[in-house]
């Protein structure tokens, strides 16, 4: 149940993801993993795509995982989950597993393993209707390999493969709307969340777990190294993403849109850009137009989302 007390109690027992792993100080990923797994009340199997989380938690012969965990490759986590879920159904039918015990299959993948290289396997698994929860910890780039640009990297961000320079303002393309891509599969549950908003995330996990079919959660997750913010400022930076409407928190349940956490006061996009070194070049006067363009797009996407919530555009 998504109350802080419950989450803390579960963490105080044998935590699903133990400390001692080697994720960076201030990394948002373990917050997401713990919030998701501590919310679930059923046993779980975790399927992990290649990435920071996998590398930092399972250096052989050690493991930080106290729940069943499997990693196969980068692009195929949703396909592996399909196999695990199918195995569970087959074994139940054969009475090799108790029929009343539901083991939740939860995928954790970064944005590379979701938006880019993992998109095909994810799309296939969503279309086939497997009962699993796919959690994308979206930190907007290939951070594990050294902060390269991905399909999730926002317009204007400087990365090691889209660096800002004398003739570049960083990434020249808009990010993919992965949440919308998931929604287009007409699965029972899709949610967009942020690592900063634990209660919102936890409630979404509850609803996702109750869905009779695939559920997809796209969770904006800070990366101090890749974003270039102070490790202690992760939650504030993510707050600005939500409050500027750069990253609206919403969900689509059986086709119905709902904003789950509306900003009390919408802040200008500069609040989101300013604390992050990857956007520092945008705040120079010669790039004012770029910032204006970002603001325009964020505002128009936010309005489109509100329209959908009012039934203006059905899923």
């Amino acid at each position: 149940m998504s109350r802080l007390k419950n989450l803390v109690e579960r963490e105080a027992g044998l935590p699903p993801l133990a400390g001692g792993h080697s994720l960076c100080q201030g990394c948002g990923v373990p917050i997401v993993v713990r919030t998701v797994l501590n919310t679930l009340t059923s046993p779980v199997v975790v399927v992990n795509a290649t990435g920071c989380l996998e590398v930092a938690t399972t250096r052989f012969p050690t493991t930080a995982w106290n729940v069943p965990w499997i990693h196969v490759a980068f692009e195929n986590a949703a396909a592996v989950a399909s196999g695990v879920e199918s195995a569970q159904r087959a074994l139940r039918r054969r009475h090799a597993l108790p029929s009343d015990e539901d083991v939740a299959v939860v995928v954790f993948a970064g944005d590379g393993g979701t938006y880019d290289i993992g998109l095909q396997a994810l799309s296939g698994a969503l279309e086939r209707g497997h009962r699993f929860l796919f959690v994308c910890y979206d930190n907007e780039g290939y951070m594990n390999t050294g902060i390269q640009r991905s399909g999730a990297t926002p317009f204007g961000a400087s990365t090691t493969t889209s660096p800002s320079g004398l003739e570049s303002f960083g990434k020249a393309q808009q990010r993919k709307d992965m949440t919308a891509i998931a929604i287009a599969h007409h699965v029972p549950y899709v949610g967009q969340a942020a690592a900063s908003h634990w209660h919102d995330l936890s409630q979404k996990v509850e609803r996702a777990a109750a869905a009779d079919g695939p559920a997809f959660l796209n969770v904006l997750t800070n990366c101090p190294l890749g974003w270039g913010h102070e490790p202690r400022l992760g939650v504030q930076v993510l707050d600005a993403a939500v409050n500027s409407c750069f990253w609206p928190l919403y969900e689509v349940v059986d086709g119905t849109y709902r904003v789950t956490c509306e900003p009390e006061e919408i802040v200008p996009i500069e609040e989101w850009l300013r604390p992050q070194a990857r956007f520092a070049h945008l705040l120079r006067s010669e790039n004012a137009q770029i910032v204006e363009e970002i603001q325009r797009r964020v505002t128009s996407e936010w309005e489109a989302l509100l329209n959908r919530c009012e039934g203006g555009v059905p899923a």
Binding site: F60, H71, A79, V84, A87, Q88, A90, Q120, R128
Partner: protein, 386 residues
């Protein structure tokens, strides 16, 4: 003893029949010629309630093998099938399946790799994953494709092996050609293959395991060595299962099949359906008084190097027929045989034949035995049109 039924079946049908009798828990499927008769046949069995399997219609072969790994390691008996480009696409995950010790049985309808794109048989797909760590068994005909599928299930799941096993059958030549196949009864198959059991199923929340971790230079080498040992152990395992299977149906399987080697001076070494043609020619040449024979490799991986060396008569010439090339280097079967025979008092020669489904005729085999074969047997002399 079995009351064997004889049915007219293609290799694809015989394998689908074996899989129905095994009744695996999970079967990821993705179509590709020429293996499609296997997945279609099996899907129909499921649709008719004759197999009780979760059919997972994945969106690619990469996902087929990925789902198979998830399912096999979760604790469910898992099978799949592919060919050519499908195997090439899944190659990355085939390596990982072996390293994660996932006992998956996969039917392979051998087909040439692109390009140019082609749908007919050669062994370049198998050779692409030669070093992946999976077992590769080559059938000579539909009967063997059936039998080897049953044996493969046991071999994959042996506690000293726990590896994917591929049952390779020549595309079209075996997959689509009907011949009489002697079938075991459903009960005999069920009792031969037994229950699926692996040491650490993932779907055991009470005993959680971390599978597929990250291994750095301090452990990677040790883990790879264990995997190599497991593949080596499959050689004895196959031999033991060959005996057990023989007791069931009087057909004997061994890693390398000797054919008329008595006093043989010239011995062809080959894989797959071509062995049938070669056996006919050996019989004819023996009738003419020529000392010729055949060594047919059934288990290409693990490669039965010692058995091959001990079966080849002293001072003989081994003529290796490869149905795959290694551009710029030695063809794969030739390299394997030559390595197995280092230090032996024999001569080894080799030819490449049959790429992209080019037939090998009995006259070609006669030429090869006579030492008059070209380097590329069956290749036309004239250039291709512009």
């Amino acid at each position: 003893m079995s009351t064997a039924a004889l049915e007219l079946m293609t290799g694809g049908e015989s394998v689908a029949w074996a899989m129905r009798q095994i009744d695996p828990d999970v079967f990821p499927v993705y179509p590709i010629t020429p293996q499609t008769p296997i997945i279609q046949g099996f899907a129909k069995f499921v649709a008719d309630g004759k197999a009780h399997t979760e059919l997972v219609n994945v969106e690619s072969e990469h996902s087929a093998m990925s789902a198979a790994i998830g399912s096999a390691l979760a604790g469910a008996r898992t099978m799949t099938a592919t060919s050519s480009q499908g195997l090439a696409l899944m190659a990355e995950v085939v390596y990982i399946a072996a390293s994660m010790r996932a006992p998956i049985v996969m039917a392979l309808g051998n087909r040439a790799l692109s390009g140019p794109i082609n749908i007919h048989c050669d062994h370049s797909d198998s050779m692409l994953i030669r070093d992946s760590g999976v077992v590769q068994l080559f059938a000579e005909n539909a009967q063997e494709a059936y039998d080897l599928t049953l044996i493969a299930t046991r071999l994959a799941e042996r506690s000293d092996v726990l590896l994917p096993v591929l049952v390779c059958q020549d595309g079209f030549t075996i997959t689509h050609s009907a011949e009489p196949v002697e079938l075991l009864s459903d009960d005999e198959v069920a009792s031969f293959v037994g229950e699926y059991e692996i040491p650490h199923p993932l779907l055991d929340p009470v005993h959680p395991t971390s599978q597929g971790p990250f291994a750095m230079p301090d452990y990677y080498f040790e883990l790879r060595r264990q995997q190599i040992s497991a593949l080596e152990a499959a050689l004895d395992g196959f031999d033991e299962l060959g005996h057990e299977f023989e007791a069931l149906c009087r057909r004997r399987y061994r890693a390398v099949e000797p054919y008329r080697l008595d006093g043989a001076e010239r011995v062809i070494v080959a894989l797959g359906s071509t062995a049938g043609t070669i056996k006919d020619v050996v019989d004819e040449l023996r009738d003419e008084g020529q000392r010729v024979g055949l060594l047919r490799i059934v288990s290409f991986r693990p490669f039965p190097a010692q058995q091959l060396a001990s079966l080849l008569p002293d001072a003989a010439t081994a003529i290796v027929l490869d149905r795959a090339a290694s551009p710029g280097g030695a063809a794969p079967l030739f390299a394997e045989v030559a390595a197995a025979l280092v230090g032996a008092r024999v001569t080894v020669t080799g030819h490449v034949y049959g790429l992209g489904g080019r037939d090998l005729h009995p006259e070609d085999v006669r030429e090869v035995f006579a030492g008059r074969g070209q380097q590329y047997v069956g290749l036309r002399g004239e250039p291709c049109p512009d």
